[in-house]
Amino acid sequence: MDLRGKKITIHDMSLRDGMHSVRHQFTLDQMTAMSTAMDQAGVPMIEVTHGDGLGGSSLNYGYGLHTNEEWLDAVVPNMKQAKISALLLPGIGIVKDLERAVEHGISTVRVATHCTEADCSAQHIKAAVEMKLDTVGFLMMAHMVDEKKLVEEARKMVSYGATTIYATDSAGYLLPDMVGSRIAALKAEFGDEIELGFHGHNNLSMGVANSLSAIEAGATRIDASLAGFGAGSGNTATEVLVAVCNRMGIETGIDLDKIVDAAEDIALPIMGKPTRISRDSLTLGYAGVYSSFLLFARRAEAKYGIDARTLLVELGRRGMIGGQEDMIDDCAMEMAKAKGLI
């Protein structure tokens, strides 16, 4: 694979997807410390939102320790060069939430829908374009559709005004050739008019490999996070991706020593225990289940006595998608009743 001379923009997820690892409990000091270190290392884009995006703070997904506005205020004023983004899932967050985030300094929004439901994003993408934001269409669980369908949905988001489209591997299920074919199909459709991105989860240890495959096929925005902080087995580790890019001659604009130190000295202590590929998070990737379900399944296991792995596989079999965390307890109770446990 010869990727010499390619330029990519790494978009860091530690302060958004990483929220899932800590049940959305980042303190303001932690936000400031991680973002400042990344800014100094040259990370060009950083996402700052509750794990489930604007409006995500809830009984269903977990309350944030702070509001999105408080988190943004702990980050935005300290940035020397990094641009800040927010995530918005239509059905959870609304345009009013986006307007508030803009007042607090975001310049990019990523409007995320399940990979078959792009037409739920029209209101939000159009509003973002009107607010002159860098507007990204973020197609989640991209493993659940083929290339043709993914392109069809991406076309809708582009028609509303999105200028970047992501293939998002929310379940960490995709393998490198599957990522490559998806990005290539998008590239064939949009050429250089639309920027393409890839968001990976490391559930099958494919984070870096999948990112390279995406870059080879034409993606120029790649999501990653410090020490792999994120849902499930975490995202692609930013510092590892930067190291690999350096070796391969891909330009990221990020200082390797500084980003490695940020991961090791700042992010890791905050994480408590390192993100790793566990029995349960591997199952997410293997069965194609939304990575944020992990901690919910573990809690249901403790509560109802149903093995988290069995529960995750069953949720996958039932076709549960991102945002359906409420169905985890429901499914566990049903299984527990069938076994006579409750």
Partner: protein, 294 residues
Amino acid sequence: MKINCALIGSGNIGTDLMYKLKRSDILNPLWMVGIDPESDGLIRAQKDGMKTTSDGVDGLLPFIKEDGIKIAFDATSAYVHGENNRKLAELGVKVIDLTPAAIGPFCVPSVNMEQLLKDDVQNVNMVTCGGQATIPMVAAISSVQEVEYAEIIATAASKSAGPGTRANIDEFTETTKLGIEKIGGAKKGKAIIILNPAEPPLMMRDTVHCQTTETPDQDAIIKSVNDMVKEVQKFVPGYTLKNGPVFDGNKISIWLEVEGLGDYLPKYAGNLDIITAAATNIAEQMAHSIKAGV
């Protein structure tokens, strides 16, 4: 003598409603109004002998008087409902709004229908499908004790959500939230909607979380919830309590499933039934009032 009605909007909701109204012994669905002559709903209405127009509400207005239309159902979108309602109100038509526009007072039949009939309002809003499914549960709990916060998650099959619903996602969440507060009685509300594309399509599911101010009176809440489920089942037989109430501190969680009658879309689309059956319910009561008044 039945009361003549018009259906505005020939999408999923309007078409399902058409079949429900045809069974009514007091309502006569006479007109179906659409904007696309090729729409499945308009074609079905025509086949069934209804009068139709594909010119929107303006195509109906000249016939309101001569056809004696007293009640209209608007299942278009929040964006056009205001204008539709203004035109119909001028002609003395009562309007049942199935969009999330929420111009008129909210109507959740098992909770507040009697009051609305007493007030003889011109326009009622049916909140949203998620609201119809969950607000009765919030009301059941808040009738026992104060609910500080209520949050609902409504999940519908992708195939059951037409373009109107999809274009109105924000209105859906905001209108449902307001309904949870105003009719459900929670001090603060939140609504989340998910569209799931699984094949075969999944049954509509609704989850309700309530946070009470004081320690929950478990026995009273369980009784109130079960009684309310029976109330809703009177017009939506497939409304079932799947799990709960589960008590966790001051948090009470309820998991519901809504199976439809399969009038238009198959039975998984309980999200259609829960709102069209509620709309039929209030319209029938209005029709009785109109007849009594004549």
